[in-house]
């Protein structure tokens, strides 16, 4: 029996998500964005698994997706710690900062000078001030310097 139409559509959506995640992994250089793209690939796999589960009429795909969720949580915990450590060492979230780990026959990534970005500050909506202005707490100002 050929798969139901909805199953085929689910498989197509899963394939598209997987391919998009693959492009992100290959192209982006920010470690965290690369990681988000890996999660996107996992989502594509989950959609495919649930579609197959519907086709075969059993719970195998659902159970496997639950384990995918579990392993993804573990993976995120460990990998984000690695990313933080990498940032503490190099001061950048750049995968090219670790290019000394590459194979000896792979050419070096060279960054060229980039054109300046548009420096217009972002426009955020403003709330109308209401009530009495609270007194300024000097200690709080010191604490919030980095935000």
């Amino acid at each position: 029996m050929t798969p139901a139409p909805l199953v085929l559509d689910g498989l197509l959506v899963g394939a598209i998500l997987f391919a998009l995640g693959l492009v992100g992994i290959l192209a982006r250089r920010n470690l965290i964005v690369m990681f988000l793209c890996a999660e996107l690939m996992l989502q594509g796999i989950s959609v495919s698994l649930v579609a197959w589960s519907r086709h075969h009429g059993d719970w195998g795909g659902h159970v496997l997706v639950i384990f995918v969720l579990t392993v993804a949580a573990c993976e995120a915990a460990v990998a984000l710690v690695f990313v933080l450590q990498a940032f503490a060492r190099t001061g950048r979230l750049d995968s090219a900062a670790w290019q000394s780990l590459r194979e000896s026959n792979v050419p070096r990534t060279v960054d060229h000078e980039l054109p300046a970005v548009d420096t217009l500050p972002p426009k955020f909506p403003k709330l109308t001030p209401a009530g009495v202005e609270p007194p300024v707490d000097q200690d709080a100002l010191l604490e919030r310097e980095h935000v």
Binding site: W59, E75, Q85
Partner: protein, 268 residues
């Protein structure tokens, strides 16, 4: 509407057009270190080509299955795919994380339509609620102010876009093969065939075999399966979570040089 246009285009042409449009659109949308009018024009063009690619794949899906007839499925899958593409091409990592949350909402909808009640909710709770918030935490800890140079360039954007689009084309082709009658070598195992054959022709396999979206004991049956046949795997997964927790704490507390991590310097 879709059906009236479709017969004039052959499936191969449609798929080739979709793959080409996907590659070109992703290449135009990925950050390539440009700025100003060049970048804006490239992104607009990439967005238009992306619409063309989405249209091609909707038509392919309509031909394969029934994409477009179930409006809810069409909408949630569009949300998932468009937000997924935005996750990949957005410059700012914070916006990428927020687009990823949107993609998760779409994926949860797709899972719901496909009959995964519990998984749809679990995706939202576990991914968007826990993992994504952790991502944002790390981003806020580590992201320098403004757009970093490495967020404005990509590794080999053309090759990456072509690789992704070609993979997508191959996968779509093999999904298309599924809708044809399978050859003798690749038939399903006997038990699955018996289940899939169902009580009557034309009735979806899931309706008979128990993955029913509207069944009131859906989650109970999933739990029974999980803690029955897969009990050992559940225990192992618990141990895995514990090991990951201890491991990440150990790595963090070691610091960068085996000592306490020094204070971070702001990077210009």
């Amino acid at each position: 509407m879709i059906a009236s246009v479709l017969p004039t285009i052959s499936p191969g042409t449609l798929l080739a057009g979709g793959v080409t449009a996907t590659a070109a659109s992703l290449w135009l949308l990925l950050p390539r270190g440009q700025s100003g009018a060049v970048e804006r024009t490239g992104r607009r063009l990439g967005g238009l080509l992306g619409l063309v690619a989405v249209g091609c794949f909707i038509a392919t899906g309509h031909r394969l299955g029934s994409l477009g007839e179930d409006a809810v499925f069409l909408i949630v899958s569009l949300v998932a795919v468009v937000s997924g593409a935005a996750t990949v091409v957005t410059r700012s990592p914070v916006y990428a994380a927020i687009w990823f949350a949107m993609a998760l909402a779409g994926v949860a909808g797709v899972l719901l339509v496909l009959g995964g009640q519990f998984l749809g909710v679990a995706t939202i709770v576990v991914y968007a609620g826990a993992i994504l918030v952790m991502f944002l935490f790390v981003l806020m800890l580590a992201q320098p102010a403004g757009l970093a140079p490495y967020d404005r360039v990509s590794n080999e954007p053309l090759l990456a876009a072509v690789a992704g689009a070609v993979l997508l084309g191959i996968l779509s082709l093999s999904i298309g093969r599924l809708s044809a009658e399978p050859p003798l070598c690749c038939r399903m195992p006997a038990k699955a065939t018996a289940i899939a054959a169902g009580p009557a022709d034309g009735v979806p396999a899931a309706a008979e075999a128990g993955i029913d979206l509207l069944a009131s004991d859906h989650v109970a049956r999933l739990g029974g399966e999980l803690f029955g046949r897969h009990l050992l795997a559940v225990e192992v997964a618990g141990v895995l979570l514990l090991v990951a927790l201890i491991g990440s704490i150990a790595i963090v507390s070691r610091g960068t040089d085996g000592t306490v991590a020094p204070a971070r310097r702001a990077v210009p």
